[in-house]
């Protein structure tokens, strides 16, 4: 039974297959480039699928530190056995890193924020969505106090929105809902 080891290979295959299928409906001149690109891409995707299937199910994880890997790399390059002293970071310096399982859950949370933010921009416009997003993200995800979140959000809005609209005279999206409400009032 074929097990999907790398979903991106199948995704790419599907994208190229659909794009090639659609390209066949175009006039000769218009479909030429999609065919030149798409046909080899489909073949490469098939080759990659074979390689994915042949790959070891789970390669042993390399638990060596970056410095140990660097020692090996430079030793190979120079032909001498190297020993690096910088194997640990400075005392008093704490690098905050989450583990992988926590990261995976966090990724979905962050996606939620991003999709919500973009939906907010489309419906309410930049001028409302940006301060709300900054305020809530800073408070809930960056764990800043409400006061600090409000101050950072205000500074960010002043620089980004103020700078763009007044400085560069850019017209930002007003939002479908906001636009409809303002238009009807």
């Amino acid at each position: 039974m074929i097990k999907v080891r790398n979903p991106m290979t199948y995704f790419m295959f599907a994208v190229f297959a659909v794009m090639l299928y659609v390209a066949f409906g175009y006039p000769e001149g218009a479909r030429f480039m999609p065919l030149v690109v798409g046909v080899p891409a489909i073949l490469l995707c098939v080759l990659q699928m074979v390689l994915d299937q042949r790959a070891a199910p789970s390669a042993a994880k390399d638990n060596r530190s970056e410095m140990e890997k660097a020692e090996e790399r430079v030793s190979q390059m120079t032909g001498r056995q190297m020993e690096f002293e910088a194997a640990q970071i400075a005392p008093g310096v704490d690098v905050v890193e989450n583990d992988d399982s926590v990261s995976a859950n966090r990724e979905f949370v962050i996606w939620g924020y991003i999709i919500g933010f973009v939906a907010g921009i489309l419906l309410l416009g930049f001028n409302i969505a940006v301060p709300l997003f900054l305020l809530f993200y800073l408070r809930r995800e960056a764990l800043c106090s409400w006061t600090r979140s409000a101050v950072y959000s205000a500074i960010g809005c002043a620089f980004i929105l103020g700078g763009l609209t007044w400085g560069l005279k850019l017209q930002l999206h007003a939002g479908f809902l906001t636009g409809a409400l303002l238009g009807s009032s």
Partner: protein, 503 residues
């Protein structure tokens, strides 16, 4: 040529607005370089919306300077705390941090900042020297060769992605290329993959796609993994200006090494895909091999700081050469920069020599002056810039996401780009999640339109016989050899390059 050199310099220093923009770019580049989580290519992508409406020269100088000085401040956290800012700085950590542990942080910083600046200037010099050498080659290239160069560019980047990822790299490059066909076909006027959506008839926005593939996934990674430096003792961050000056003087003392590693760095920069990380490691290895006392390396040898820093910054000048003259970006950062250049109306290729040589020289001067200003500036403000390394990534994420959405929207003033941003961000995240290289996507997307135009021109001029032109045959041989070598290495289970070299 002399006229162009003079005109290039005058276009820079004779215009207070351009000089002012360059100073702003130096300042932003240094700040961004020292701030965790924001790499060079991301900062360029974020800056693109702000260069709209700028004159071609001013916009190009602004973006190039910002990109070029980015690495100069990136090594501060590597030296002071043993935490490399990005891949380019990892080699600097090996000797930089042991120097800091011995109480020589100032000396290491002085040497690395000066070496980085000098490397950048020599890299620009190497680029300048190569112009007359390459001029006849560039002018001999016809549309047939430019089509093949686009394919070669993608192959190179994919080849250097490492760990047997060549096929994935080429697939991603071709994915970028096929997405570049979205919109009105230049030959027949048929809207391709656009349906009735008028906003797609002009094609997908390069800025939106670049932001989607690089910025959004990077921000998700930064937000979910953390990784900020949260605490430091007072003595770890302390050094004196006397030490800093001693470090500066180490660069002229090791002028021979500086010169050699700068040249190697610039040459590596000319090979698409190798990038700053490869340049830094190769030059570190070179410094070890050529030293009379190699046993000092890894325990605080100042040469171990100088060599990778000169190389990683010298490669910027080198990588500008294939980007401007052949339309093949030397690195993913250069690919984003090339996308920005195209938006500003700068078309890479022979016209850079025949019509825009002044601009080429202005960019070379911008590299030289930008690095000089960056070094002088950074030597005075290092102590304060170092504080930026403690900025919590979680605080930066929402601000960068706001800039990303503003950038995607402001690019064409169309809300539909925000929907495109979301769609392609999911693909970009997928690429990052399942360890596919992302740099070839940008190159395919940026080069796709040029490749299609060149292909149609070549077919119009020679029919399919263009494949048998001598220069075309050379390029085809290079493409086949690159793929063949990668397959051979893959079959033998060898890595072509360290992982991430071309990502």
């Amino acid at each position: 040529m002399m006229d162009a050199i003079g005109a290039g310099l005058w276009a820079l220093i004779g215009n207070p607005q351009t000089m002012g923009l360059m100073l702003i770019a130096v300042f932003i580049g240094l700040i961004v370089g020292a701030t965790p989580g924001i790499g060079g290519r991301l900062s360029i992508a974020l800056a693109i919306p702000f260069v709209f409406g700028m004159d071609m020269t001013q916009g190009a100088v602004f973006l190039l300077t910002m990109h070029a000085v980015n690495g100069t401040s990136g090594q501060i956290s590597s030296i002071m705390f043993g935490v490399p800012g990005d891949g380019d700085d990892a080699a600097t950590t090996i000797d930089g941090y042991p120097m800091a542990k011995k109480g020589e942080a100032g000396r290491a910083l002085g040497a690395s900042i000066t070496a980085s600046g000098v490397g950048g200037i020599i890299g620009a010099g190497v680029f300048a020297v190569m112009i007359p050498v390459l001029e006849p080659v560039v002018l001999a290239f016809s549309p047939a060769e430019f089509f093949l160069l686009a394919i070669l560019g993608i192959t190179f980047i994919a080849f250097l992605a490492g760990k047997g990822q060549i096929f994935k790299g080429i697939i991603v490059g071709l994915f970028g290329m096929i997405l570049s066909t979205v919109g009105m076909d230049p030959q027949t006027g048929t809207p391709r993959y656009a349906g009735d959506y008028l906003f797609l008839w002009d094609g997908l926005s390069v800025v939106t796609c670049v932001l989607a593939v690089f910025a959004v996934p990077e921000m998700i990674a930064l937000a979910s993994r953390g990784g900020s430096i949260s605490a430091v003792s007072a003595e770890t961050a302390s050094f004196s200006y006397k030490q800093l000056f001693q470090g500066v003087m180490e660069v002229p003392r090791h002028w021979n090494l500086v010169l050699r590693t700068s040249m190697i760095g610039a040459l590596i920069g000319m090979i698409p895909g190798l990038g700053g990380s490869a340049a830094a490691w190769m030059c570190y290895g070179h410094a070890v091999q050529t030293s009379k006392t190699p046993e000092r390396f890894g325990h605080g040898a100042v040469e171990g700081v100088i060599a990778p820093e000169t190389a990683s910054n010298a490669k910027e000048g080198g990588s500008l050469l294939p980007t401007l003259f052949f339309g093949i970006p030397g690195s993913s950062g250069m690919a984003v920069l090339m996308g920005a250049f195209l938006i500003l109306g700068i078309q890479p290729g022979p016209t850079m020599i025949t019509q825009h040589l002044d601009l080429v020289w202005t960019l070379i001067w911008a590299l030289v002056l930008g690095n000089l200003i960056a070094v002088s500036f950074l030597l005075f403000i290092t102590r304060w810039v170092a504080l930026l390394t403690f900025v919590n990534g979680a605080v930066l994420v929402p601000f960068i996401l706001v800039l990303v959405t503003v950038g995607a929207y402001a690019n064409e003033g169309q809300w539909e780009n925000l929907v495109i941003l979301m769609g392609i961000s999911v693909i970009g995240w997928g690429l990052m999640r399942w360890d596919w290289p992302r740099a070839p996507f940008v190159i395919g997307l940026v080069l796709g339109k040029i490749a299609e135009e060149s292909l149609h021109k070549a077919l119009g001029l020679w029919g399919f016989g263009f494949f048998t032109r001598p220069l075309s045959l050379v390029l085809i041989a290079m493409i086949v050899a690159t793929i063949g070598y990668a397959i051979y290495n893959n079959a033998k289970g060898k890595n072509v390059m360290p992982a991430g070299a071309g990502s």
